[in-house]
């Protein structure tokens, strides 16, 4: 699914043309470029919606937006890697997985 700038403005109520341009020029959003202007996929749309929620509903100012986005992205990347680690541990023999889980609980519990 690829949306044009007009599609995005219709989809997100509180987003104006000016604000969309701010999001792009600050590189908070990196849409695909095309011969007819920027094109947005579902990931861009959801990210724009998050930015609108932050700035409109939660009154976050523009200086804080990139910090929040960066933290959110780092958090997701970290969660993705934790999921991968979980898979890797689960794939081990039961005894190994069990030992890791016990040790982890120790480390987290006593820290």
């Amino acid at each position: 699914m690829m949306l044009s700038q007009t599609d995005v403005l219709t989809r997100i109520d509180k987003l104006t043309q000016t604000r969309l341009e701010v999001c792009i020029s600050h590189a908070w959003i990196a849409p695909h470029h095309s011969e007819t202007g920027p094109m947005f996929d579902a990931l861009d749309l959801a990210r724009l919606q998050l930015i609108v929620d932050l700035t409109e509903d939660m009154a976050v100012n523009d200086d804080a937006v990139p910090i929040i986005l960066s933290l959110v992205d780092q958090l997701h990347a970290l969660r993705g890697r934790l999921h991968a680690l979980d898979h890797a541990v689960t794939d081990q023999d039961d005894a190994v997985a069990e030992a890791i889980a016990t040790r982890l609980a120790d480390l987290i519990g006593h820290d």
């Binding site: 919606q49 939660m58 780092q74 990347a77 993705g80």
Partner: protein
């Protein structure tokens, strides 16, 4: 879905006499706490956030608030349109293009070994992080069906004004991405430039369809060609060729033009599959009618004998 709509005042934790400013303030405080993208692992919180957002939308509408206060409507008037949260994309475990900057070198041996050196060999930043690779640039390029099959060269202007020549390889499929190494944003402090990522969207064609390496085409033939056979000029993605229609061809018969399909590099060329479609004249004149009636009288033919739909 909630069966019973929640009292919007209760959802926001405000009095019924709350001013607009107090409602907004209460909503902001809750939104900051409950927003799904700030709580990626909390699925229960999403329901609360939805309820809070709905309540806020509801009470922000003076008319709805008045009618609710007057007991004219219940809180179900404020159904939020379904929306898609960023975490649904960012939290899938797949890396997306906004996450490419995250570094995990300081997380200990196992994590460094598994996740440390990433970036498709273009990292090069080293432990000091002084040299930085330039960002990738995404480009969405629509190409015609025939250009996608036969290959083409396209010159496009990137947002920074640079002109880029893109070679579209023959046989490229819809949704494929071409990576032009080093054609993205310049690097910092001597770091390498990023890549240009060209996402290809293949436009549909009026005549042809694609199925893997085969090309499909519907070919209208006349009733006499179907009965008597004949030679018909057929378009292919590389120009016209003559196809011999055998005598006695039914609608739906598929003729194979070997090697006239998609010829992508490194793969054997596919075929063009031509599906015959008998088309009767717009007006059935007396000659045709008489001829068929005469034939029918002496030649009982049941087109549906042996057909599975025949009981």
């Amino acid at each position: 879905m909630n069966t019973k709509p929640m009292d919007p005042y209760e959802a926001l934790g405000v009095k019924r006499t709350a001013t607009d400013a107090e409602i907004k303030k209460a909503y902001r405080a809750l939104a900051k706490k409950l927003h799904p993208d700030i709580n990626p692992g909390d699925t229960a919180g999403e329901e609360r956030f939805k309820a809070v957002s709905a309540a806020h939308t509801f009470l922000s509408d003076p008319e709805k608030r008045r009618r609710f206060d007057a007991g004219e409507i219940d809180a179900s008037g404020a159904e939020m349109p379904p929306r898609d949260y960023y975490r649904n994309h960012a939290g899938t475990g797949q890396e997306n293009r906004y996450q490419s900057e995250a570094e995990f070198d300081d997380l200990g041996d196992i994590f460094s070994r598994a996740f440390g050196s990433r970036g498709g060999g273009a990292g090069g930043g080293g432990a000091h992080g002084m040299k930085m690779r330039g960002a990738d640039v995404q480009y969405h390029l629509e190409v015609s069906f025939l250009d996608a099959i036969n290959g083409a060269k396209r010159r496009v202007t990137m947002p920074d004004g640079r002109s880029l020549e893109i070679t579209i390889p023959a046989g490229i499929e819809d949704g494929k991405t071409l990576r032009l190494s080093g054609r993205g944003q310049p690097g910092f402090n001597g770091g390498p430039a990023g890549d240009a990522l060209i996402l290809i969207a293949v436009l549909p064609d009026l005549l042809f369809e694609r199925d893997g390496t085969d090309i499909l085409l519907d070919l209208p033939i006349s009733i006499d060609e179907a009965v008597l056979g004949g030679s018909v000029a057929v378009p292919t993605t590389a120009g016209r060729v003559n196809l011999r229609v055998p005598p006695g061809s039914s609608s739906g018969r598929i003729m194979r033009l070997r090697g006239k399909g998609v010829a992508a590099k490194g793969r054997p060329a596919g075929d063009q599959l031509v599906r015959l479609k008998i088309v009767l004249p717009d007006i059935i004149d007396d000659d045709l009618k008489t001829a068929i009636e005469g034939w029918h009288k002496d030649h009982p033919h049941d087109a549906r004998s042996g057909w599975k739909g025949q009981t």
